[in-house]
Symmetry: C2
Subunit: 155 residues, 2 copies
């Protein structure tokens, strides 16, 4: 377990930016994901994609979200205190992800408040950004997560 | 290609609801997806999950989105005219997806407007809802999609 795995609600401080590492995306994984979940021509068929609206194969936006999530789990979300997510606001894919791209992921805490109804937890909002090797944003969203507050030490 | 595959922008009429079929989710696929993309204990480890915040294994929200997307591609989005998506607003997972659940997906067009800058296309907004076998909503979002307008017949 990394340090991030032991975080509690109190460790997610509004304004703090967390670098979450990077990941490369290859054509085989783009096609494999899309064949199962999003078999549109520009995600699964390099020949059709070359003649299509993006002039080449691009990753399903859901694939991009999934690989970004992996970096968040490995580098940002607490293993100890994460209670899951209510969802995300303003999820955007401003630029396509193409085979060979390397995506860097950054998480910035924008809000943190204790739950009024459940005193053992808090709610954090995080702006998640993924940029490619040219610095272009390929995904952006504001995630809503629930986390346990730090337990009081036993007396 | 199904009928939906031949739709153009004009065929997405605000107010119209499209039933997109249903899909069942098993434990093996929940664990396989989460091991790759979202390896939090309550998604990958049935024993840890039983003692965790959801009292049992639940699907990654991204897995839910991916299987819902498959039903949208197979039953709603045009093969002929789809130009991809800008993203989604207010993506929510109001209730967990558990092994053995069957999800039914419905798409309701809420907005359709021609692009001002690109006359060959339009923008549609769709409320996507997935409900489980008990009628509980497990996913909801408003998707933003670009579609080609119907070509004028050759003279």
């Amino acid at each position: 377990m990394n340090d991030h795995g032991l975080r509690y609600f109190e460790d997610y401080v509004p304004g703090a930016t967390h670098e979450c590492g990077s990941v490369s995306v290859d054509e085989a994984s783009i096609i494999a994901f899309a064949k199962e979940f999003d078999p549109q021509p520009f995600h699964v068929d390099p020949v059709a994609a070359a003649a299509g609206p993006y002039r080449g194969l691009i990753a399903s936006g859901w694939h991009t979200c999934a690989i970004v999530m992996r970096l968040l789990v490995d580098n940002y979300l607490s293993t100890e205190a994460s209670l899951g997510s209510a969802g995300l606001d303003e999820l955007r894919w401003p630029h396509p992800v193409r085979p060979g791209d390397t995506l860097r992921v950054r998480a910035t805490v924008v809000e943190a408040r204790r739950s009024l109804s459940k005193p053992d937890r808090g709610i954090i909002k995080t702006v998640i950004e993924a940029v490619n090797q040219d610095g272009r944003a390929v995904m952006r969203a504001t995630a809503i997560n629930f986390l346990l507050v730090r337990p009081e030490p036993a007396r």
